[in-house]
């Protein structure tokens, strides 16, 4: 076989190897790029967040949308999550004749995991999607370009108030979720499952420390920052008309939810070591 005939075969082999590697590492590369893009946006939020003018009205609007607007859904989900957790705990512990410990089990589960994670997931669905849609619509209707032409930083005007409001409101909502959840748990355990109220409360107080609640609140701070940052980023880079805004909204919810679950593991690992 002549050399001229061998050359395409070699090129084809290396191209196939390249395509194969890119197929394997492509998602990894895109994931790393995605993390990088969000870290750059976070750095811009810090840069613009400490510079004048401070637009308190925009922050209050965002805080109202994220915080007050989310209270009904957080209350509803919190109450039923607490109730079902207590129901399962009582029935599991009844086997050991230890129903009284349902207060501590429900309290720990809510404080450490369910309150911050479910609040984060609720906010990713409601707030992350809302932010991506609003900013995405502003992008495709040239409102973000208009801000830039009027010498106003879109990061400072649009992203900073939302990320700051999300970071502050998420732990407050998470605490609210925990409190409502415990009320729901108490009602189910005591009035439906006939657990002794004294042992429910005493076991809760004996087991659940302030450090457990703080651990949940620290997670909520990170989740609030992450999900608003993701919503803003998806909207900010939306393109392609209404379909593009729809895709940005979907991605904000999916990426936000997955990020919260991944962050939850790593944060739990670190916080368990630090707050031991």
């Amino acid at each position: 076989m002549s050399e001229a005939n061998q050359q395409p075969a070699r090129v084809g082999f290396w191209k196939a190897v390249g395509d194969g590697l890119s197929g394997v590492f492509g998602p990894v590369r895109r994931g790393v790029e995605g993390v990088g893009v969000h870290l750059v946006l976070l750095a811009q939020v810090f840069y613009w967040g400490v510079r004048r003018p401070f637009r308190s009205r925009l922050f209050l609007d965002a805080a109202e949308y994220i915080g007050v607007g989310s209270l009904p859904i957080i209350s509803l989900v919190g109450a039923f999550t607490g109730a079902v957790t207590a129901l399962q705990a009582v029935n599991a512990l009844r086997i050991l004749k230890a129903e009284g410990f349902s207060g501590s089990m429900t309290g720990m589960t809510l404080a450490l995991e369910l309150a911050p994670v479910l609040t984060g997931l609720m906010l990713a669905g409601r707030v992350g999607a809302g932010i991506a849609t609003e900013i995405g619509t502003m992008r495709i209707t040239e409102q973000i370009d208009a801000l830039e032409t009027m010498a106003v930083s879109p990061i400072q005007y649009l992203v900073v108030p939302r990320v700051v409001a999300g970071t502050i409101m998420a732990p407050i909502l998470s605490l609210f979720f925990f409190l409502i959840g415990m009320v729901g748990a108490y009602i189910v355990a005591v009035y439906v499952e006939n657990v002794d109220p004294g042992s429910f409360v005493e076991n809760f107080r004996w087991t659940v420390d302030p450090k457990h609640i703080i651990q949940g609140l620290i997670k909520s701070v990170v989740f609030g920052m992450a999900l608003t940052l993701i919503g803003c980023n998806q909207g900010y880079h939306a393109s392609g008309g209404g379909r593009g805004v729809g895709l940005a909204t979907t991605r904000a919810v999916v990426v936000g939810s997955v990020t919260i679950l991944i962050l939850d593991y790593f944060l739990s690992d670190v916080l368990l070591a630090v707050l031991k």
Binding site: T141, Q143, D145, A146, T149, M150
Partner: protein, 262 residues
């Protein structure tokens, strides 16, 4: 007049040289080497078909897009050499009227028009309101101050966009297809508005359009962009009497041949 575009020139305020733009490494070039000057204090119109790069060109002038290569100088300042802080300051020379008007949905007409003053001046609330009302009255928008953009007609939205662009008394106004989608009467009103603003405020106007009837009404100079390059640029008479077959075809097929001949 100087031939060095990096020097301030009394006649040419905006100078573009060798401008190329490609949005992705494997995408075709949208601008393939634009060389063009815009005259100070005149209405400069860029014409061309859809997708020829008109809006992309104008967005390079104000620094909304970064070129793949080439330069844009405004009064001798290379727009794309400025850092973000200096670029923001530099943009206060400009007002821009967008094709979609780009009014903020969540703000009323009054708040939209007041926006540049609130952001960049220390005027009190009453001073800002007075200035906004004056501008709305000049543009025939009195009574609309409490409405939201969604409640306005296309022509009113354009006028609100123009009012907002004029609030900081810019030296240069960029109009991105200001009459697209408007009926002939409103189109004529918007054209008159562009001419009035240019005369009244002595601004340099750069207008992107493919509406030739409108172009011949407002233009002092016309440049034709085709396939990402300048096909021809010159005065209105030079374009009217052009021998360039593509420019001729563009004008005649737009249905304004009679007006051109007149």
């Amino acid at each position: 007049m100087t031939d060095d575009p990096a020097q301030r020139d009394d006649r040419w305020q905006i100078r573009i040289r060798g401008l190329h733009k490609r949005f992705a490494p494997d995408a075709p070039e949208v601008l393939t080497g634009v060389d063009l000057d815009f005259e100070r204090g005149k209405v400069n119109v860029v014409i061309g078909g859809s997708g020829q790069g008109k809006s992309v060109l104008i967005k390079h002038v104000i620094g909304l897009l970064v070129p793949t290569s080439g330069h844009v100088w405004v009064d001798g300042v290379d727009v794309h050499s400025l850092d973000s802080t200096r670029l923001a300051e530099f943009r206060r020379k400009f007002g821009m009227v967008f094709q979609t008007s780009a009014l903020f949905d969540s703000l009323t007409v009054e708040e939209n028009v007041a926006f540049p003053l609130v952001e960049h001046t220390k005027y009190g609330r009453h001073e800002i309101r007075d200035r906004v009302m004056d501008k709305l009255k000049v543009l025939g928008l009195d009574g609309a101050e409490g409405k939201f953009p969604g409640e306005l007609s296309g022509g009113m939205r354009k006028r609100v966009g123009l009012a907002r662009a004029l609030m900081l008394e810019p030296e240069i106004i960029l109009y991105d297809e200001p009459t697209t989608g408007l009926d002939p009467i409103i189109t004529e009103n918007v054209d008159n508005m562009i001419i009035d603003v240019a005369k009244q405020f002595h601004v340099t106007s750069v207008v992107i359009s493919h509406d030739m009837a409108s172009v011949f009404r407002i233009a002092d100079r016309i440049a034709m962009i085709h396939d990402g390059m300048i096909e021809q640029a010159g005065t209105v008479d030079e374009i009217r009497n052009t021998s360039n077959p593509y420019v001729r075809k563009f004008i005649t097929t737009s249905g304004v041949e009679a007006a051109v001949a007149a």
